[in-house]
């Protein structure tokens, strides 16, 4: 059994209590994507605006637990103003961080070790992998953003 402290790090509680980039963007020009976690009822709406190859703005609304909310807030801070290619790379890295545990269930190849330094504040979420049911909370915003990027590029 892991400790609550692994899950509820101070940074996480901080982003939960004071979420960054909360709100909406006008669509169009921005793009609006909804994400659901059917298991716990979490709902998130991600608004993204692109300026050429840059993710120029992002806003988040919706509701959910401290993990899904803080992960969305941390994500918004990490990707805003970044080149879309880098955002995709960050999404990949983050999702690899979150699949370490799930891979025990499956026979897919071991993921490469994740470079935690590259993740900055996001690394605070690594404790989530010790709580398998919460992984879906942490990845909700990320999957929603990934879907948004796919739609943007279509």
């Amino acid at each position: 059994m892991s400790n609550l402290e692994d899950l509820y790090r101070e940074i996480i509680l901080d982003h939960y209590r004071s979420p960054r980039n909360r709100g909406e963007l006008e669509c169009p020009p921005a793009h609006r994507i909804e994400g659901f976690n059917p298991l716990c009822g979490d709902e998130i709406t991600v608004y993204v605006a692109a300026d050429g190859a840059t993710l120029s703005d992002i806003k988040i609304s919706g509701h959910g637990c401290s993990i899904s909310q803080s992960s969305a807030s941390l994500m918004s801070a990490a990707v805003k103003g970044k080149p879309i290619a880098d955002v995709r790379a960050t999404i990949d890295t983050f999702k690899r961080l979150m699949t370490v545990h799930e891979s025990n269930l499956d026979d897919e190849q071991e993921p490469e070790p994740v470079d935690l330094r590259a993740l900055g504040e996001l690394a605070a979420l690594q404790g989530v992998v010790k709580f398998p049911v919460r992984i879906k909370c942490a990845t909700l915003a990320w999957n929603t953003l990934a879907q948004g990027l796919d739609e943007l590029s279509n």
């Binding site: 400790n3 709902e43 959910g64 401290s66 909310q69 709580f131 909370c137």
Partner: protein
């Protein structure tokens, strides 16, 4: 005074000896699935050890014994809900949900037209919603909902108008979110008066109070074993004999046929028409043992015990967390079961449950498969604590201390 002793039940339930993170387990999730007493576990083990065989088609000794055990379970389950013809009115299903699929896709598909009306309620579990939606996509009938009032009870003031022209009214005997017990007899009588058939979701009620399909005049009922101290993988669908006789087959395969030719088949006549393939034999044995176990405890005694626990918990939650913890459900124990959906002061139920886990407390966060009801009360989710025959006042103590910690951490 009842001589009911929950400690005797606890002694039978091995899982209650688990220690979670240094804390003895405080199991408050019986509405989701109940814990299994040793006599149920052992009945299934003994079945596999001594008399396992496929049923219905064997003449050798263990095949006869397995068949007798399986059919004996059917009769016991039928008697448990006071069916008039226990051996002819119970179909074994894999869970409550399959029972509703059977109802909708057999009876419903044969009887509903685009101008038909089906009446449900706003507090239904997805099991009693989605199958109707699936058939509506095909057939296109109207669904009306009996509304839920701000007192967390069905608002029956417009019942007759809602039932006007309805083919069926299908509703839960007890809400798995609110704990509300609905007036089955009254709704059944109104339904029949309007010419509708009456289906009841007894998943939450069947292990917590007496069920009598005859006295309450219910036409169809579905419930599952795993919420009544029985095994996973089995439930029961009840239909009055005359109605069952006219229902077309549901799943097809071996065991449900009278004849099969290359150009078609003739279905069997009785309950077996609805049991395609090798049935849940060990599970039926386990469900039978669970029925016996509950009957020995006495449903009235269980109901009384849980009512006392609920009254105590409602009172203490109010005193200790006034304003900070809201119970989403009736505030008194009148027509109410031991299900306490908690909304903790803006703290997400997922986080509530996570912190409680560190205290060994098992509660369930989420929409409890009743999303329309959650929307009705503008809640994404609740943290639900629920009692069973083995629950104690001390479980509430641990829950309340855990809630203090939750509020301290996130408040």
């Amino acid at each position: 005074m009842s001589s009911y002793d929950p400690h005797r039940v606890r002694a039978d339930v091995p899982l209650l000896r688990r220690v979670i993170d240094g804390h003895p387990i405080t199991y408050l999730d019986s509405a989701s699935s109940s814990l299994t007493p040793r006599p149920v576990i052992e009945a299934m083990s003994r079945y596999y050890e001594l008399r396992h065989a496929n049923v219905h088609r064997g003449v050798y000794t263990t095949a006869e014994e397995a068949t007798a055990a399986y059919e004996g379970a059917r009769v016991a389950v039928g008697e448990f809900i006071h069916a008039a013809h226990p051996s002819e009115e119970i179909v074994f299903t894999k869970n409550t949900t399959e029972g509703f699929n059977l109802l909708v896709k057999s009876w419903g598909r044969a009887n509903l037209r685009s101008d038909s009306v089906v009446v449900l309620t706003e507090m239904e579990h997805h099991a009693n919603l989605v199958p109707w939606f699936q058939l509506r996509e095909e057939v296109g009938f109207e669904i009306r909902y009996i509304p839920v009032g701000d007192d967390f009870r069905l608002d029956l003031s417009n019942l007759d108008a809602l039932l006007d022209g309805a083919s069926i009214v299908s509703f839960s005997a007890m809400s798995n979110v609110l704990g509300t017990k609905n007036p089955v007899e009254r709704i059944a009588a109104a339904g029949h008066a309007a010419g509708a058939l009456v289906a009841v979701d007894a998943a939450q009620s069947v292990a917590h109070s007496v069920t009598d399909v005859q006295s309450s005049d219910v036409d169809f009922m579905s419930f599952g074993a795993h919420k009544m101290m029985g095994p996973t993988g089995i439930g029961a669908f009840y239909a009055k004999r005359a109605l069952l006789a006219d229902m077309p087959p549901f799943l097809g395969g071996g065991g449900m046929i009278a004849d099969v030719r290359l150009d078609g088949y003739t279905p069997a006549k009785g309950v077996e028409r609805f049991e395609a393939g090798t049935p849940m034999i060990a599970e039926a044995v386990g469900m039978h043992a669970a029925v016996r176990y509950i009957e020995n405890l006495g449903l009235a005694a269980i109901a009384e015990h849980e009512r006392a626990l609920t009254a105590d918990a409602l009172g203490r939650l109010r005193e200790r967390f006034a304003g900070r913890v809201r119970v989403i459900g009736p505030s008194d124990v009148h027509d109410r079961g031991g299900v306490l959906s908690l909304d903790v002061d803006g703290i997400h139920p997922h986080d509530v449950a996570q912190v409680l886990d560190q205290h060994g407390v098992c509660v369930r966060p989420g929409h409890h498969c009743a999303k329309p009801l959650m929307r009705r009360f503008s809640l994404p989710a609740t943290a639900r604590a629920s009692f069973g025959a083995y629950s104690l006042r001390e479980d509430t103590d641990v829950l309340l201390d855990g809630l203090d910690h939750v509020i301290e951490l996130f408040g």
